[in-house]
Amino acid sequence: MLFPTIQFAIFFVVVLTANWLLLPHRRQWKLFMLGASWFFYGSWDWRFLFLLIGSTVLNQVAAVLMGRSRDQRSRRLVLGGAVAANLGIIAWFKYYGFFVTSAINFFRTFGIDLPLPLLEITLPVGISFFTFQALSYVIDVYRQKEEPAPLLDFAVYLAFFPQLVAGPIVRSTEFIPQLYTRKDPRRVDAAGGFALIVGGLFKKVVVANTLAGAIVDPVFASPSQFTALEVLVGVYGYAVQIYADFSGYTDIAIGAATLMGFTFPDNFNNPYTALSIQDFWRRWHMTLSRWLRDYLYIPLGGNRGTRTRTYRNLMLTMLLGGLWHGAAWTFVIWGGYHGALLAWERWRSETGRATGPDTPGRRILARLTTFHLVCLGWILFRADSMARVGEILSRLLDWGPAPSVTPAVLALVVGGIGVQFIPSDFRVTLVNSFSRLRPAAMTAALAGSLLLLDGLGPEGVAPFIYFQF
């Protein structure tokens, strides 16, 4: 059940109504929301519902065992078991084919035939997201940052439909307390919720889907058919597409949660205005970045050891972050590329090579450099093989006519990047003005938005890019 569909609209109206009607009845609310969220997840493939339920039970048992035990060794043992089980599940569903084919191909170069079975395993939607949420819960219980939650609370947290399949990665410490916060049904931040939902739909349906069909997919499928300018705009187009697609999804998720009285963490903050790669990761998929920081980078030692160890930790974190995105070497290389850039920036900063006056010219140069380094990374991320990466890069030298770079494509690319430079205050003012409209005017504005969304977007509903992760 994709967000920009009539099915989801009907589902959401029912859930939103029940959400506020059941508010005084906490237990019934939780049972209803759990059932609705399982229904939402089961609409993709009902068989994977058992996986979600299994993950809920497994992690809750681990959390309860750790909560009851006073013995640190046995707590660590339970945590190790839970982490291994979670990673085992994700490894089986997401990485089995990748690891097995990589091993077979590696040994084949030495003339050894590995008799490993190749299985057809379907990737359950959202597995990377809910597994990371579950891991954060058991690790936080182990660290005694939180008590084990009641089973029903944890089940609702893990399955809550807005963020279930593509984030943001919400912490249990952020979500579960909200189940007990008294929400005032007379004061709903409707304007904030509506603005996020409509904006998210526009990003996905109009910007991302149009760019995908008009330039990005053709350029990445057959770069040899395009000249340098077309390939360049195709790469910029992908930078805008992936941002619009993913941030669009999380905007809709956060907006839907807002209308139901929940507050989710932000996931994007104008990433293409970043002044450095480190700054970019503070602005891009922020909930994944902080997850990797808290549950991987810091446990590895963070920046507490020697300089070399810090660089190693950065590299390991980003390599695994890359692998989290997909089971292919291109993702690993993409992660390594960002790890290397982060280490390089850190080295420059630590050795005093990154100093200088903070002038507008330097800031523009820093932004341009960062954006293009990120775009280079996106080529690794989007291309299906390193050979295709080489093909795309080599096309950047072949200048000629660029009929694919239409005014509409240019407008979407320039607009998609340019909009990130609009000051936040302006957007806040806009949403606040919207919030003061009468309900009838608000309704008219929303209905008009629906007309534009359906009219301006290409036909059909393309799945969100991050669903595959």
């Binding site: 109206v13 509506f194 053709p218 936040s424 919030s435 309900p439 629906l450 036909e459």
Partner: protein, 340 residues
């Protein structure tokens, strides 16, 4: 690690006005209903293109009166204006309802101007006078088409156009009338070669021009589908084009395998009766070592690669390259195009 703290949350600005939940629900429901009327023609079309079944029946039954009211009240005009500004030809509800007269969609050959059968010899192809190739069909073309285009263009002797429509095929001319579209391509582009890929969505009831349906898996279905395939091959052949009709690969679902076998056998048998049509077999190209479905197959260098998407039907890029190389070898041999 990079992230330290989240930026200010703009959506939580203090000056923002709030409204009661009941009003929020009312605003949501009302705006969705108005949106339904404003976009009624497109939503009706979406409902109509679904496969026959209860969802389609209910969807169409609900949306037909909505579209009629929307049209009567001029509520669909803004949408029509947007479509016309964007140059989109989205059929209106009346046009999408089943025609009751002659069936132009399924009998294109009879509507063609009389032509003499062209000669059997292929023209000479060169870099200066390249082969014009049209690659079209359903979503199977999505991965395969660009890869064939890519492979062919490397010779410098082929120019291609790739067009595909999701959920389309020969069973549902009410949604995309492929024969009519191919006639248009023949007239406007006049390609030497048509590479056609259908079948991914055709294992469903066939829509007839009088609005009736022929159920899948019946002798009548097979007869009508065979006739439609024959009609397309005939119309392109009579217009002097050469056709490469792509077969479907082995698929993961055993139920769907039976359907694919049936459609492949129809394509192959009908193609045999047309001298200008070549059937390109893809089933065995994607069989595993045991003759069954395999997601992973060796590429040209012998490395095991994921060739099929999770749905067990469509190709990954590697799978599409495998089929594109195989297809282009056949085309190149026919047209005497050096492979490098």
């Amino acid at each position: 690690m990079a992230v330290e703290e989240a930026p200010p949350r703009e959506r939580q600005a203090e000056e923002r006005a709030t409204i009661p939940a009941g009003i929020v629900i009312l605003v949501v429901v009302t705006s969705l209903l108005i949106g339904l009327f404003l976009n009624a023609p497109d939503i009706l079309r979406t409902a109509q293109r679904q496969e026959p079944g209860w969802e389609r029946t209910i969807g169409v039954a609900l949306m037909e009166p909505v579209a009629a009211v929307s049209h009567f009240l001029f509520l669909d005009r803004p949408r029509m204006l947007i479509d016309s500004i964007l140059g989109r030809e989205r059929p209106q509800p009346e046009a999408a309802t089943p025609p009751t007269t002659a069936p132009p969609a399924t009998t294109p050959a009879t509507t063609m101007p009389a032509t003499t059968l062209p000669s059997d010899t292929r023209r000479e192809v060169s870099a200066a006078d390249p082969l014009i190739m049209y690659i079209g069909g359903d979503s199977m073309v999505g991965q395969f088409g660009p890869m064939l285009d890519n492979r062919a263009s490397k010779t410098g002797m082929v120019e291609s156009e790739v067009v595909y429509e999701f959920e389309s095929g020969l069973s549902r001319p009410d949604f995309i009338d492929w024969p009519q579209r191919l006639v248009q391509v023949s007239e406007e582009l006049d390609p030497d070669v048509f590479v056609l890929y259908f079948g991914g969505n055709d294992a469903q009831s066939i829509y007839m021009p009088d609005g009736s349906w022929i159920e899948f898996d019946t002798p009548e279905w097979e007869e009508e589908y065979r006739r439609r395939v024959d009609d397309v091959m005939t119309l392109l052949e009579e217009r002097g084009h050469w056709v490469y009709w792509m077969g479907l690969p082995i698929v993961s679902s055993e139920t769907f395998q039976e359907r694919v076998r049936l459609m492949n056998s129809i394509y192959e048998e009908v193609a045999e009766a047309h001298p200008r049509v070549t059937f390109i077999e893809a089933w065995s190209l994607f069989e595993g070592p045991d003759g069954g479905y395999s997601e992973y197959l060796p590429d040209e260098e012998g490395n095991l690669v994921d060739m099929r998407l999770d749905d067990g039907v469509h190709y990954t890029t590697a799978g599409a390259i495998r089929l594109a190389n195989h297809t282009f070898e056949i085309i190149a041999e026919d047209w005497e195009i050096p492979l490098e």
